[in-house]
Symmetry: D2
Subunit: 136 residues, 4 copies
Amino acid sequence: MIVHERPVRFEDVDAAGILFFARFLNYCHDAMERVFDGLPGGYVDLITNRRIGFPAVHVDADFHAPLRFGDVAHIETSVSKLGATSCTFRYRFTRARDGVHVATISHVTVCTALDAMTKLPHPPDVRALLDTHLAP
Amino acid sequence: MIVHERPVRFEDVDAAGILFFARFLNYCHDAMERVFDGLPGGYVDLITNRRIGFPAVHVDADFHAPLRFGDVAHIETSVSKLGATSCTFRYRFTRARDGVHVATISHVTVCTALDAMTKLPHPPDVRALLDTHLAP
Amino acid sequence: MIVHERPVRFEDVDAAGILFFARFLNYCHDAMERVFDGLPGGYVDLITNRRIGFPAVHVDADFHAPLRFGDVAHIETSVSKLGATSCTFRYRFTRARDGVHVATISHVTVCTALDAMTKLPHPPDVRALLDTHLAP
Amino acid sequence: MIVHERPVRFEDVDAAGILFFARFLNYCHDAMERVFDGLPGGYVDLITNRRIGFPAVHVDADFHAPLRFGDVAHIETSVSKLGATSCTFRYRFTRARDGVHVATISHVTVCTALDAMTKLPHPPDVRALLDTHLAP
């Protein structure tokens, strides 16, 4: 599991004054990148040099409480399932100041050769990394 | 059902060159607002004057094919379930030029008094509108 | 001159409740793309097939009045200066409902071969198009 | 002067593969908030509790070199001019890995009572803070 905190930005709220629901997924992607920081060059090297990406094939999100400007999202990221080519990331969002449970989001990716846009088995270093965060 | 098309913007793609997965939800919200265009003043009047909002409590998304800059998202929006306070919107995304199925997203909202942030039964006009788009 | 209207989106405001200042430039880019709609395939074809882009080298913006959710930005786009490789777009923003002057933004681009990221004289068709919108 | 670094996010690039020009202003706002971190409660307290904001009235930006995914923006923020109600922030962007000068952006704000949307002289604590970053 990796813990990551991110303040709600001034421009991340919507006209109802709360973190816009789509932006939770921006935060998730950011949290996923923190997992890949465990590899040399991180997510950037995967995308830019190795041309390996992790497009989403499924997202399942439960929202329990809103976040507002001034709140800090506390995000716990783990891998709940690891297949040959697919990986399920699980993000648990709480509000940093009081621990209120904000959201739980599940995000299934498929390891993909970006130039051909075809499925790829997780390379051994990627698989080993993801495996260390496995918490079924 | 309401049909809505939206071109993928220049700034909507990610470093892998495809529509960033979070932005699908921006497109969904836009499509949901098109449904509320059926009320006088539309979604703006609900939010701004009546102070009624529809925060997401659940999202379920299946992504089948990517969209790129230059593609147009063809979005069919319907209501798949209508409760006293909750509503499930269903968005079917296809690629306009060839009809390829891109994504299906389900989005559960709860009718909410924005100032108190408490649940509210759908007002009769809102319920009547949503009911016309019901396609279980 | 090209006229383009764009409603302020639900997620385009900031925590102060007004259109976030950075997003004016998103609106400008959109308006610039409307100019390029005058070529077959539009801006998409330029970027994707011809690999010609128009990165900004300068932006100058004066903001006079805020826009809020529910407002519609009325944008008048013209070319105020056209060089061999550079072009200055001028966007005049008013609020659609009452004509209040919201902002004037000047945006200098340089025609660029995207693969080499080097300056390129405007191709004749691009130059001819931009010339029709010249309003010094 | 305050120094702040921010990696270019996966979703911050455009279809030309470079940091979208509008997003430079998102980065500027973030850098400005780092200045206000010098007050108890920071920018959040100003906006949320004191209802004081700093809408932009002018932006002037020169872009010299692109940033790509994987680059880190190194941003030096100072106050180049301080008036009774207005403040000019100056942001100098370099690319962290090699110090290449990327952009210089000037951003004039007006201290504003957010509820009335009227001009306000800088409160003494705000003025004192901004004054410490003055570098004409």
